[in-house]
Symmetry: C2
Subunit: 386 residues, 2 copies
């Protein structure tokens, strides 16, 4: 395959803008921006002003008939991710989707089945998996340096959003539009990294607060407790009203403790494991010898959105393994759905969740929504790692 992979970006909103820019300006070797698809004529007009030499589509069915398009990058509102992804895979396109994989796992599971039955490359924009410090922590855990995991606490409250942010788009922060709040919009990366590094929990007890500090109907504050198959426990705390927030991930294992904060990894490494110490120590008070180690990040790769785009393009051209396979999008979403569901039923939710019950409860909320938003139509500048 000597020619470039021709992309169509579907959804020319906040994220689609940036992705089109990267593809058009050759940030991704082997890829080019061939088309943009959006059902909003105003957005297409704006796109045309910037990129006069690409194809524009207002309907994704028409777009999918275009045989020049190799890959479709879905950057629409959340609900449409699985719908368009399935259509595109069925039309023979490679597909990259924005996070989250969808709003409810029922739809995402169908999408995964379609993808797995095809030979198309299917990726998800989990760009934070490119971060050298998260890759390093995953490597420390996978290699056994930390020993068996006991506890995972992630305080991820640095997603501050003002009311004006929520007022900037009609679909934002509504059950019908986004299908959730901080869990669906801001946290998909952390929910993914959490399970990528530490695995999936077996049950969840969560406490979501809806419209606590903003005039929105979805959650802007969440505390969740989880349990893992080996008995380990975890806490996930997130919010869009704390300022300044915190982003501190602490993983405790049989061989010590890792903390990532301010993009810095510290590993308090035990010389002998806690279990061994516990079994052999005979004194009253005492603990195993511990070394505080500053851990270097993993070898740098091109990070963030461009990093994922390069990897996805390489997978198409060279069969390179995906850093963020699309089918893994269901994991973080399952945790997120479980957190909602646990709050709604005010009780435990076992994983895998009851997908039909979740879907039903979500529909109840969409139907009951009396939320009328004053919205300002605007495209936000989303520099950074959203």
């Amino acid at each position: 395959m000597s020619k470039k992979v021709r992309f169509c970006v579907v959804g020319y909103g906040n994220m689609g803008n940036g992705h089109a820019y990267n593809l058009y300006h050759s940030k991704v070797t082997g890829a080019e921006l061939y088309a943009v698809c959006d059902n909003d004529p105003e957005k297409l007009e704006k796109c045309k002003e910037k990129y006069s030499d690409i194809k524009l589509y207002s309907d994704h069915y028409d777009m999918l008939k275009d045989e020049n398009i190799d890959a479709v990058f879905v950057a629409t509102p959340h609900y449409d991710h699985p719908v368009i992804a399935m259509d595109a895979i069925k039309a023979g396109k490679h597909v990259l989707i924005e996070k989250p994989a969808g709003v409810y796992t029922k739809a995402v599971r169908e999408m995964n089945e379609v993808a797995e039955a095809s030979d198309r490359v299917f990726g998800i924009m989990y760009n934070q998996r490119t971060k050298s410090y998260y890759r390093k922590v995953k490597e420390l855990v996978d290699s056994g340096e930390l020993g068996e995991i006991r506890r995972v606490n992630w305080i991820i409250t640095n997603w501050y959003r003002s009311q004006s942010y929520y007022d900037s788009g009609g679909w934002r922060a509504t059950w019908a539009g986004e299908g959730g709040g901080v869990l669906l919009n801001q946290d998909p990366h952390q929910l993914d990294l959490w399970q990528w590094i530490c695995g999936m929990p077996t049950r969840v007890r969560a406490f979501c607060q809806f419209g606590k500090m903003h005039n929105i109907e979805v959650e802007d504050d969440v505390t969740a407790y989880v349990e893992y198959p080996n008995g380990a426990t975890g806490v996930f705390i997130t919010s869009t009203s704390d300022t300044p927030g915190t982003n501190r991930l602490e993983i405790t294992g049989d061989r010590g403790k890792i903390v990532i904060e301010d993009d810095k990894i510290t590993f308090w490494r035990l010389r002998i494991s806690e279990r061994e110490f516990n079994a052999t120590f005979k004194g009253g008070f005492g603990d195993p010898e511990c070394w505080k180690c500053d851990i270097p990040p993993a070898k740098k790769m091109v990070e963030d959105h461009v990093g994922i785009l390069i990897n996805f393009t390489d997978a198409i051209i060279n069969g390179t393994e995906l850093l963020a396979p699309g089918v893994e999008g269901i994991n973080g979403l399952t945790i997120s759905n479980a957190m909602h569901l646990s709050t709604w039923i005010d009780g435990w939710v076992d994983l895998p969740i009851d997908e039909d019950l979740y879907y039903e409860k979500l529909q109840e909320r969409i139907k009951a929504s009396k939320f009328v938003k004053k919205t300002a139509k605007a495209t936000l500048d989303v520099d950074g790692t959203f």
Copy 2:
């Protein structure tokens, strides 16, 4: 009152040892060790070897008849704290109790009623209230510098204890002996400081794990979620099996965030409050200006056990206000009881708790205990701030 306050230390175990030492060696101006009371003849013998010139009692009823004793310092196993304290107050003694105030709030409430009906000085050994950094944080919160509290996360997992520690005393880590694990033995200070600084929650949902990493029947691992009257939320995570553990208290308010870790206070102070920013900001992404401030500790006082003893003695001699009034012991214990109860009933517990239900559930556990411990009779060296 020109003569010294004559103390009797009741319970010559781990803690009683240290307290007797401080009183005997004139660490506390205005106080002296007059007697020690313990129902274990071996312990009394050891005491006699060290302090040949003090009175020894094997029965606290006899001791209370001694009119030379002004103040009784109760350092027995937990269950006996309210019993002996009430007897002593009724006998006209001033009383200082070790933490926790008791094992269940029903008994502690009775003790408080007896204390409040008397004119005796009644204190509790909440020695961590003397710490200059906790006093400073309380002052920052009380003075309004932090604004209204939104979130409180305390990760207090640096209470590592090996199996040999638990095996060192027959009463340790049993329902009948201690009435609980890490919440009753290690955490009373933090549970007290938590409510001292942030107030009492309205409801609790907790997840205690019993004998998770040790051969004990009580909890050695706890994650708890709490809600406050104003809607603020909190998390309290504690364990005796994490090593190295963490002691990090994070309080987020309308005016920023305070973190105490490694005995150091950092205050991220907002120039205008979050509520004001939220109401006036018109942009997409933005947050209020924030200053990272290193906060000096409060003016030093004599800290730890001696600090409380000095304050308690001053209260007797000069009427000085108590830093840790005995009647406040019920607050932290209420939170602790609520955490147990929430786990036992696998649901929410509203505060104030159902004291009778707690008592009943505790008795069930004492009765059902099949726990046979191999114990090594030993007195541990408890240097530090236990």
